[in-house]
């Protein structure tokens, strides 16, 4: 009974921590420079900034957690998809590691779908139809979800100029965003095959910061970080 009472008392009058106290506490927390550098390197490597990673390695002496050569390969694959050269991308991935597309039917389907989209974009109608029939239809038979996506893609052929297609979900397939989506899916699969996490660590750290601040908001008033880009400490609300 008394416990509940105290709890209610506390929630009604939140503890206030001033900026000075907060900064003093913050300065007491020691974070190793090497750890910070590794976080940065992890970001550069995962996102594929190979030149920046090389420079950063040179300047800070931080070892990348992956062979930088593999980043170049990965980026070449990604770029090929972004430029619409899907077949080229597929061959490159298969040289990198044949397991990736062999064990990932969904990704393989999306790449084939992208290939079909590129054929349609280039106006190669006959080739597109043949490709859809030869390569994509059997995948559609294996998996119902693929069939629906295939039907949506083939719908592009119904319009002389697909960009005038009235159905939003169909027209979207021709957007650059579709290429980006396929490219990121492929990028993530390559990273996973290299025993590397597919997302950099920094964004999840930021998410944890936001979560922790939200938790703390219920108990105390403190110098919050609202501007994540500059990480400025706000004055506590009293």
């Amino acid at each position: 009974m008394s416990m509940v009472h105290i709890g209610m008392m506390q929630s009604s009058s939140k503890k206030v921590i001033t900026k000075e106290e907060w900064e003093k506490k913050l300065s007491e927390v020691k974070i190793r420079k090497e750890d910070m550098n590794r976080l940065v390197m992890n970001f550069l490597v995962t996102e594929g900034y190979v030149e920046a990673a090389e420079k950063f390695q040179h300047e800070s002496g931080t070892q990348p957690d992956i062979d930088l050569g593999t980043i170049t390969d990965r980026m070449a694959v990604r770029k090929a998809v972004q430029c619409g050269q899907v077949e080229d991308a597929i061959e490159k991935v298969n040289d990198l590691n044949p397991e990736i597309l062999d064990t990932n039917p969904q990704l393989f389907f999306h790449l084939q779908q992208q290939r079909l989209i590129e054929l349609i974009r280039a106006g190669k109608v006959e080739e597109a139809l043949e490709f859809a029939q030869e390569e994509l239809a059997p995948r559609g038979e294996e998996n119902h979800a693929f069939l629906e996506e295939l039907e949506r893609t083939v719908a592009l052929l119904a319009f002389d100029d697909a960009s005038t297609c009235p159905v939003k979900e169909v027209k979207e397939l021709l957007d650059n965003a579709q290429r980006q989506k396929t490219a990121s899916e492929l990028n993530a699969a390559i990273l996973t095959s290299q025993s590397h996490e597919k997302d950099p660590k920094l964004p999840s750290l930021l998410k944890m910061l936001i979560w922790a601040q939200n938790q703390l908001d219920e108990k105390a008033s403190y110098p919050r970080i609202n501007d994540l880009v500059n990480a400025t400490l706000e004055e506590p609300v009293t």
């Binding site: 077949e87 044949p98 397991e99 062999d102 393989f108 080739e127 390569e135």
Partner: protein
């Protein structure tokens, strides 16, 4: 786009070019084939038909140029990925020795490509497992665990994981230092770690000795690393670490100090993994089954976390992979093995989805217990593992008397189970027999189904199987079938089984069969004198067979024989006299009768309890021969022995001895015999 849209080139020509004399043409052909078949099952099958595989393997076997070797190894791997036909085709082409040899190739690219192909092959159940223990292959794989290239080390662990299916294989690997090498890989990258956990799980499965070794390895550090990994970020790592620890816990219960906390953690981790997509989710139910096996406390905790409902939900889903379905059924079977509440919960689950779509007014009638249909379907599943698991599940459910009377009565279970006892797979037969054994216990509806069908003939047939597990389980089922059965059922079973066959089973080379056969006789001669009479038919062959087992050195077997005698001795005067004769003739033959020997046996008080019961039954009810029996028992030294037992350490024995002596006293008093 490249001009040569490869999907458009003629496959026949490509296959031909695989054997071209020109290196460049060969390389182009093999690369094209590889790029066409990766991810494409249809293409794989059509190239296999065109005879591409032997040509691809030929390149691996005889070429020396790195690009050719890499491409052909990759193509082999792709052929072996995803289709059984592909695995068969590459194995038939004799690829295995070449791949193994190439693992040691100085060029890392070649070694890596071969490692990946080998991994694909060993992913399939068709992979030749015991072949890997020939020659120096095991040593090679163990050496490769420390290979600088991650893929090579990974595949070595994966292949080891798939190969050790027998205790001998497990031990051979451990003796060659496998455990230590695998444990040191736990610190590696995620793939290496998972491969190592996979292999450690395979080594500890049902192996107490190796489980103990893992617990003690590096002063417990190895075990601590595995325990840490159950909370890893990767769901597959969490699953594999749980698999390892569940195997260790099952093989070696209470093997380490913090075990109960670890098990509790694992339970909630596995419960969450059930919903995970991919391998982690598919394997989670089976690991959960192993975790809660033989642990009632954990079974309760799992039930509290709604495990029964969650697992049963998978039974309703369509297209659940066989391995997952097997795990789900095994999980349910473990959860229902002891807890009546869980059994009830599983059988009472209603199909709420169909309820929502059906007419509300008629709903109470339409609501049918949902698991019945799914269980019956699982009993008819094409995959052996699922059938075994479904039988195990029915067996657990049938442990409840209430369920036998109500939910499981319908013929829908009995018929498919009877079909399964003729299944081509001995594992399925054995498990189906055990389930039948439970289901036929005591209750008439099932018994009538068995009587109507050729169930008895099938069981009798299996009771003479070459496989002793099948023999044991068939006899067990027949034994349960005879439990409290009426005399017509007993007559029919004995007529079909025949007394000489039953005598053979009582003297079976396997003790577990003997024990079941003796208890079958015990059920046979339980009850009315008509029932008892059967042991003396055919010139008393059966009685003699039981008599021989009274002096079996194994106390549990002798005890069962004694129970038979106790049933006989509770019959008519004639039956009592037959036992009396047996006691006296054994006294003559070896100076101490079997009865006295039981009374003097200190190994198991139950032996003394039943022996005293026999005496009580010999004296009750007091028939015409009673005074002569009292005299004869005294001459055989039985009465004196009873007097020595009035202060027996076992309370049960003590009170029965007292009853027996009081009866002696009463009889003497009536007959005016002199007291001692």
């Amino acid at each position: 786009m490249p001009a040569s849209a490869s999907w458009a080139s003629r496959p026949e020509d490509l296959v031909e070019s695989l054997s071209s004399l020109d290196n460049t043409a060969r390389l182009k052909a093999i690369r094209d084939v590889k790029n066409q078949i990766i991810g494409n099952k249809t293409k794989k099958l059509s190239y296999i038909k065109l005879g591409a595989v032997p040509r691809v393997v030929e390149i691996l076997a005889s070429d020396t140029e790195v690009p050719l070797l890499v491409q052909s190894a990759a193509a082999v791997g792709s052929f072996a990925c995803g289709t059984d036909a592909g695995v068969r085709a590459v194995l038939d082409s004799g690829v295995l020795p070449h791949l193994l040899k190439m693992l040691q190739n100085g060029d890392t690219q070649v070694a890596e490509a071969c490692a990946r192909s080998l991994k694909m092959i060993f992913h399939s159940p068709l992979a030749p497992k015991s072949d890997m223990f020939q020659g120096h292959r095991m040593e090679l794989l163990l050496k490769l665990l420390n290979h600088g290239n991650e893929s090579v080390a990974e595949v070595a662990a994966r292949v080891l994981a798939r190969c050790c299916e027998t205790k001998e294989h497990q031990l051979a690997l451990a003796n060659a230092g496998g455990l230590q090498s695998l444990v040191s890989l736990l610190a590696g990258s995620i793939k290496i770690r998972e491969a190592s956990l996979d292999a450690l799980a395979a080594l500890t499965k049902n192996n107490k000795h190796l489980s103990e070794m893992v617990i003690k390895l590096d002063n417990g550090d190895a075990l601590a690393s595995i325990i840490r990994l159950i909370k890893d970020k990767s769901s597959l790592t969490r699953l594999l670490a749980c698999m390892c620890l569940a195997n260790i816990g099952k093989a070696c219960p209470g093997g380490y100090s913090q075990e109960s906390e670890v098990r509790a953690d694992m339970l909630s981790i596995l419960m969450r993994l059930l919903d995970e997509p991919g391998q982690a989710g598919q394997d989670a139910p089976g690991v959960l089954a192993d975790l809660v096996a033989n642990n009632e406390e954990l079974q309760k905790a799992a039930a509290d976390q709604n495990a029964v409902e969650k697992l049963a939900d998978f039974l309703l889903r369509k297209e659940v992979p066989s391995k997952q379905l097997e795990g789900v059924l095994l999980g349910l079977s473990e959860l229902c093995s002891k807890l009546e509440n869980s059994r009830r919960q599983l059988l009472d689950l209603q199909d709420l989805k169909s309820f929502n779509t059906s007419l509300a007014l008629a709903a109470p009638l339409l609501l049918r217990p949902m698991v019945h249909g799914s269980l019956v379907a699982a009993l008819r599943h094409p995959c052996d593992g699922v059938k075994v698991a479904a039988c195990a599940c029915v067996r657990s459910l049938s442990r409840s008397v209430k369920n036998l009377r109500t939910s499981l009565t319908s013929e829908q279970f009995v018929r498919p189970l009877l079909q399964l006892i003729n299944d081509p797979s001995p594992a399925v037969q054995a498990e189906a027999l055990t389930a039948v054994g439970n289901i036929v216990l005591d209750f008439t509806p099932q018994k009538s189904v068995i009587m109507q069908t050729d169930g008895i003939a099938q069981l009798i047939n299996l009771a003479q199987s070459m496989d002793h597990t099948l023999r044991r389980n068939a006899v067990l089922a027949l034994k349960n079938f005879l439990f409290m059965a009426d005399i017509t059922v007993k007559h029919r079973v004995i007529a079909e089984l025949t007394i000489p066959t039953l005598c053979d089973l009582i003297q079976d080379p396997e003790e577990e069969v003997q024990e079941q056969a003796i208890t079958l006789v015990r059920n046979l001669v339980h009850g009315e004198p008509d029932s008892i009479e059967q042991i003396f038919s055919d010139g008393g062959l059966l009685f003699q067979a039981i008599e021989k087992q009274l002096i079996n050195p194994r106390p549990d077997i002798a005890l069962q024989a004694l129970y038979v005698i106790n049933n006989v001795v509770s019959g008519s005067e004639v039956h009592k006299e037959a036992v009396m004769t047996s006691i006296l003739s054994s006294q003559l033959a070896s100076n101490t009768s079997w009865l006295t020997r039981f009374l003097q046996d200190t190994s198991n008080p139950q032996l003394r309890v039943v022996a005293v019961w026999c005496i009580i039954n010999l004296l009750y009810p007091a028939g015409e021969d009673i005074s002569s029996r009292v005299v004869r028992l005294r001459e055989a030294g039985v009465e004196a022995q009873l007097h020595k037992m009035v202060d027996d350490s076992c309370l049960d024995v003590k009170s029965h001895v007292r009853t027996a002596l009081e009866m002696y006293f009463g009889i003497r008093h009536i007959d005016g015999l002199q007291c001692i």
